[in-house]
């Protein structure tokens, strides 16, 4: 059942080359990967109705023409009133190819990146490391061939220069390793399943805390060949 739905989503966006965030998160939900509660609102009323129960929320533009949402002002976080929500919807609706707003609960934690790539020599490969917008500057990441085993997750964490950030630093709680392990292993299995369809995936950031690990943003690039 889940497999069919995933195929449907993949096929729908194959020509576009990538899957928009709400649909990517639908795929992850089907595979029991943690995503924030979200709504793909097509109208301002829908947006306000959903957001009013959840403030503060994050809003991100959905558009087939906008891959890098924050580059065009398509991401607003910390929205906490109906008025602001309406304003954000209105602003986003002027962006190119506007197809609604992805609204979700704010999640907190340490920003990790989890990614996948179909490597020419090694096939599906999973990446994990310190995330955020400067991820490519520090490149503090580990990579392993999928599917991951539990010991792979442990060695990935141990190989990060910033591992102390994950293990509790200056009084902060360590992240929930069990949740991270489950997320990475399930994600790696999903990548194996989708290896013929995808080119790469960025989950950046994944918010990890002592409680859980939640995929806050997701980009699935499809194999267009």
């Amino acid at each position: 059942m889940a497999k069919n739905n995933i195929n449907e989503i993949v096929n729908k966006y194959r020509n576009a080359g990538w899957i928009p965030e709400p649909e990517a998160k639908n795929i992850f939900k089907m595979k029991n990967l943690n995503v924030p509660d979200f709504k793909w609102a097509k109208t301002s009323d829908e947006a306000v109705k959903y957001a009013s129960k959840k403030y503060p929320v994050a809003a991100k533009v959905v558009s087939p023409d906008i891959l890098h949402k924050s580059d065009v002002g398509g991401v607003v976080v910390g929205i906490d009133s109906d008025e602001q929500m309406k304003q954000v919807f209105d602003d986003f609706s002027k962006l190119k190819g506007f197809d609604g707003v992805h609204i979700e609960e704010m999640v907190e934690g340490i920003e990790l990146i989890i990614g996948a790539k179909i490597d020419h020599q090694f096939g599906p490969v999973v990446l994990m490391g310190i995330g955020g917008t400067s991820v490519e500057i520090y490149q503090d990441v580990a990579m392993r061939m999928a599917p991951l085993r539990e010991k792979d997750v442990i060695s990935m964490v141990d190989s990060l220069k910033g591992q102390k950030i994950l293990k509790g630093y200056r009084g902060s709680d360590p992240i929930n390793m069990r949740e991270l392990t489950t997320l990475l292993i399930n994600f790696s299995n999903l990548i194996i399943e989708l290896q013929d369809d995808i080119e790469s995936i960025d989950l950046n950031p994944v918010m990890c805390s002592a409680k859980d690990c939640v995929i806050a943003d997701a980009r699935i690039m499809l194999n267009t060949k």
């Binding site: 990538w18 891959l67 990146i113 990614g115 996948a116 790539k117 490597d119 020419h120 020599q121 090694f122 096939g123 490969v125 990446l127 991820v135 490519e136 490149q139 990441v141 580990a142 990579m143 392993r144 061939m145 792979d152 060695s155 190989s159 080119e199 790469s200 995936i201 960025d202 950046n204 980009r219 690039m221």
Partner: protein, 457 residues
């Protein structure tokens, strides 16, 4: 596929031997195997005639003997017919030395010979390769024997995509005292690839450690390779050429941008417990250590040194590599102290490293090692010897080796590589204890031994 006939050939046909040019690759191969190796060698050339008093066969079909291995050094366009004649004669396998195939954009002819061979289940190495070299057994390198420096027979197998790297490494192994079971240049690896040779060498009783020089894998071939290594009970070392090349297309995601070809390669090697050597010192150190000992230590080093400075340098480098130099317990230190000679007792530093000073004599080293072995506080001993020290005898190598070998604990030694200290060094090496000429090399040898026991990577 059965590669036994290729590697244990008793009879060889060399195809392409020239009547007029004795430095033709086929002639070099024919001459060296005929005169220097325990094989029966038959020369083949369609013109026929005689060479050096031997009958020159027009075709392998004419040879009145079964042929284990055909070495083909004729022009590419003749190779398909020659290959067919080998298949028809039921030759055991071939090495195709000739170039002019995929590397020269002649994909078609390469594809043709692969299809022929696959259909007939006929194994071949190459084309565009140097073939195989096994000390005392066989040598298909078309390099004149008098030019080559041969390593001694040993237990390291070296498989290389580049013939030049393979030959050069053989010369280096000779200088480092590293013995080789087989060197294999696989060239275009049209049919037999790394993974086929890995599977063969995993069962080869002469080979203990398998080294690969790899420039690149085909689609998903890297995955198949590491999965095969994972099943191989012998340690595998890789050297990757082409580390600087990155995925050339502009990446659309952070992951694709960061996961360049070499980065992924290195990380996957790490994941599967495959040692990647990034320079010559790492390669020789890994080879020497794994040639003597199986993997299986956790990396708790006990260091015994003549010089405090050498101890410090070894700790620095070991820490850089993530190795552990655990502090010794009070009781262990006390036990070491009890057995020291009186002049050393007063000045030795019994932390880890155990600095026995330049006053130490052989028995001090032996006793300290015995205590460390029994302590269960370390799982590998590094011995840093300066032979300038007057109390160090030339017999220390053999004596120390015996102490450690009977305990089963790996011993790794540093001794300066000078002719004057040869007997001391051989005292170690002839007892299978590896010696490095540098502190860094000694520490790298320890790193190579870290891991779970063979077969449970």
């Amino acid at each position: 596929m059965n590669l036994d006939k290729i590697f244990n050939a008793k009879t060889m046909a060399v195809i392409g031997v020239s009547l007029t040019n004795d430095s033709h690759p086929a002639n070099v191969i024919y001459n060296k195997n005929r005169y220097r190796y325990p094989l029966t060698v038959y020369p083949v050339n369609p013109k026929g005639g005689t060479i050096k008093g031997e009958y020159l066969y027009k075709n392998v079909a004419d040879i009145p003997d079964t042929i284990d291995l055909a070495v083909i050094a004729a022009r590419a366009e003749f190779v398909p017919d020659i290959l067919q004649s080998c298949i028809d004669k039921k030759v055991g396998g071939a090495i195709i030395v000739s170039g002019g195939f995929a590397e020269s954009d002649n994909e078609d002819i390469q594809q043709r010979i692969v299809e022929m061979a696959k259909k007939a289940d006929f194994p071949f190495i190459g084309p565009n390769c140097l073939g195989i070299f096994s000390p005392g057994k066989i040598d298909t390198l078309f390099l004149p024997a008098e030019r080559l420096i041969q390593p001694m027979h040993g237990n390291i197998a070296f498989i290389s995509q580049s013939g030049g790297v393979m030959v050069d490494q053989m010369v280096k192994f000779k200088g480092q005292g590293i013995g080789v079971s087989t060197g294999i240049s696989i060239g275009n690896k049209a049919m037999l690839k790394e993974i086929d040779l890995l599977e063969y060498l995993a069962k080869d009783p002469d080979t203990k450690v398998i080294v690969f020089y790899i420039e690149g894998f085909g689609k998903n071939e890297g995955r198949a390779f590491v999965e095969a290594v994972n099943k191989c009970p012998k340690p595998v070392i890789v050297i990757k050429g082409g580390r600087s090349s990155q995925g050339s297309h502009a990446a659309s995601s952070h992951t694709a941008s960061m996961a360049g070809d070499h980065r992924v390669f290195s990380e996957v090697m790490k994941q599967y417990g495959i040692l990647e050597a990034t320079n010559g010192l790492e390669l020789s150190s890994y080879c020497e250590a794994l040639s003597s000992y199986p993997k299986g230590i956790s990396g708790k080093l006990g260091i015994i040194t003549v010089s405090g400075g050498h101890g410090v340098l070894s700790v620095d480098y070991a820490s850089d590599l993530g190795l552990n130099i655990p502090p010794l317990s009070a009781s262990t230190k006390e036990l070491i102290k009890q057995n020291l000679s009186p002049s050393v007792k007063a000045i030795a530093s019994l932390e880890n490293p155990v600095d026995l000073t330049g006053s130490a004599v052989d028995d001090d080293f032996l006793n300290a090692a015995r205590v460390l072995i029994k302590s269960n506080e370390v799982d590998c001993i590094l011995l840093l010897i300066l032979p300038y020290s007057p109390g160090v005898s030339i017999e220390l190598g053999a004596k120390m080796s015996n102490v450690c070998l009977s305990s089963g604990m790996p011993l790794l030694a540093y001794v300066p590589n000078e002719e004057r200290y040869r007997m001391l060094i051989e005292g170690f090496e002839l007892n299978q204890v590896p010696v490095s000429a540098s502190i860094e090399g000694t520490v790298l040898m320890a790193k190579a031994l870290i891991g779970e026991k063979n077969g449970e990577k």
